[in-house]
Amino acid sequence: MNWTAVATIYKAEMARFWRTFLQSFISPVLSTSLYFVVFGSAIGSRIQEVDGVEYGAFIVPGLVMLSVITQSISNASFGIYFPKFIGNIYEILSAPINFLEVVAGFAGAAATKSLFIGVVILCTASLFVDLSIQHPVAMVAFLVLTCLSFSLMGFIIGIWAGNFEQLQLVPLLVVTPLVFLGGSFYSISMLPPVWQTITLFNPVVYLVSGFRWAFFGQADVPVLLSLCAIGGFTLACMAVIWWIFKTGWRIRA
């Protein structure tokens, strides 16, 4: 493993983040605050407790997941798409590094950024509602795994994308609906029976459910299933990336 190269890519990617730090910091704080004002106070005050949890607190795990998933994908996809767009990806392709090192650098940095944003949102949320975290280790594990797996997915999207429009396509058309319909703002038990079954095909349900369990000790699906789902998703992404570098799909003529 060429750790110097991994650290080099990681640092260069993080440098981009620090260059736009204020924007990276303010934007999630602002949007989270808005969610709390709208859903937590204005509407939430009229909603009863969900599964014994005050609605304002109930939506926190979903809110964190929404931001973390979106940020991971956009950071990682942009991170690898940008050198492809500019053309300086030649440097990465001609360097003595393998796919694991490239991915560790790019996806690692993207995951770090979204993890930071996730923490910022949690801190912001704690200003509005009382947050209890019953299983802190599981909470961190879910958060880190989500950041990592969706950064890997973002990396794949960045390699697949042929232009900036496509770069936005998957996050906009696939990820956002999946996250919104994945129980971020409601419990699955609130849905009609048919939809309760259909919604189980949405992978985000498992993430949100497991993450929420870490906070409140209650889950829509078994926690182990949630862990398996996110673990399987991570492995699937790694396999796709391995294949991409092996065949050179969209990166090496």
Partner: protein, 319 residues
């Protein structure tokens, strides 16, 4: 001298079916400057990209310093520095940062002193804290060279380093290349300027249509490239070259309607005045006179079609 780069029967067929390299074999000796000459689309960039690992070869092998560039890609790539043809730099980064990045990417430990000396050598030191977007085109090219040198490669590929560059900068580039050679770096540069090869190369390879037509020492090649032809068109055709003109080694063309004279533009005397005098004295009437210079491609496509084995093509066949 030992070959530091050995390319064997390298073929590249792109997905669309276009064959960019048709079995190129080439040995490059340590410490030499090899210029690859060829028109646009000849396969120069594909050749470089395949050696560097940016493009995957369809078949054939590349050995860099004794390491296979696929199975031992780490050792092979560590020896190579690449300066691409296009200016591909992230606009928002600073000069020093991007050059330091290149060194790290190759797994080399940070060495501020070395990076500093590379930047000074390329007249970039004053600009080390400037963002790429604030640099001139020439400066950006220097940054690309600095990036390629940051990991101390033993082989440097320069893909058309002077395309679209003004005369002043081109001379600077040549000076830089000479200094690198003096420092022991093997240099392979592609160009479509014959003058460029003439100015700095030790050997010249000619590539066109994905085939390497020949590789030979610059001096030999230049001797051929300097030849030009003068065609004298006659008002009345002749059956043979008149005896009085035999000393000029003329060829009869256009069914006796013209005389072809080949001369060396580098010679002190081209012999044209004497020839024209002798033609007049032989009683021939001229209807027109024209000169032509074969293009690189003409000369070498001709060589291949007549010689079969391009490398063994006789010099007398040229032009």
């Amino acid at each position: 001298m030992a070959a530091i780069l050995s390319i064997r029967d390298l073929r590249k067929m792109y997905d669309g079916g276009f064959e960019a390299l048709k079995g190129v074999s080439l040995d490059i000796e340590e410490g030499e400057i090899l210029a690859l000459l060829g028109p646009n689309g000849a396969g120069k960039t594909t050749l470089i990209s395949t050696v560097c690992g940016i493009t995957t070869a369809t078949s054939g092998s590349v050995s860099v310093g004794g390491f296979d560039n696929v199975s031992q890609f780490r050792a092979a790539r560590a020896l190579i520095g690449l300066v691409p043809q296009e200016i591909t730099l992230e606009p928002f980064t600073k000069v020093l940062d991007t050059v330091t990045f290149s060194r790290g990417l190759f797994g080399k430990p940070a060495n501020a002193e070395l990076i500093g000396s590379i930047l000074r050598k390329l007249s970039l030191w004053e600009k080390r804290d400037s963002r790429i977007m604030d640099l001139s085109g020439g400066m950006k090219r220097r940054v690309l060279i600095a990036k390629a040198l940051a990991h101390e490669p033993r082989i440097l590929f320069l893909d058309e380093p002077t395309a679209g560059v003004d005369v002043e900068l081109r001379k600077d580039m040549w000076e830089i290349v000479r200094e690198l050679k003096a420092g022991g770096v093997t240099i392979i540069l592609t160009t479509h300027y014959i003058e460029e090869a003439e100015a700095i190369a030790d050997r010249v390879g000619v590539i066109t249509g994905g085939e390497l037509l020949l590789v030979e020492a610059k001096e030999q090649l230049m001797a051929r490239m300097g030849q030009k032809q003068l065609e004298v068109q006659l008002a009345k055709p002749v059956e043979a070259v008149p005896e009085a003109l035999s000393q000029h080694n003329l060829q009869l063309v256009n069914g006796g309607g013209g005389l072809l004279y080949t001369y060396d533009t580098r010679a002190e005397r081209t012999g044209i005045t004497t020839l024209l005098n002798d033609v007049a004295q032989a009683g021939l009437v001229l209807s027109d006179v024209q000169t032509r210079e074969s293009s690189l491609e003409d000369i070498f496509v001709g060589l291949v079609s007549t010689g079969g084995d391009s490398k063994g093509a006789a010099e007398g066949d040229a032009a």
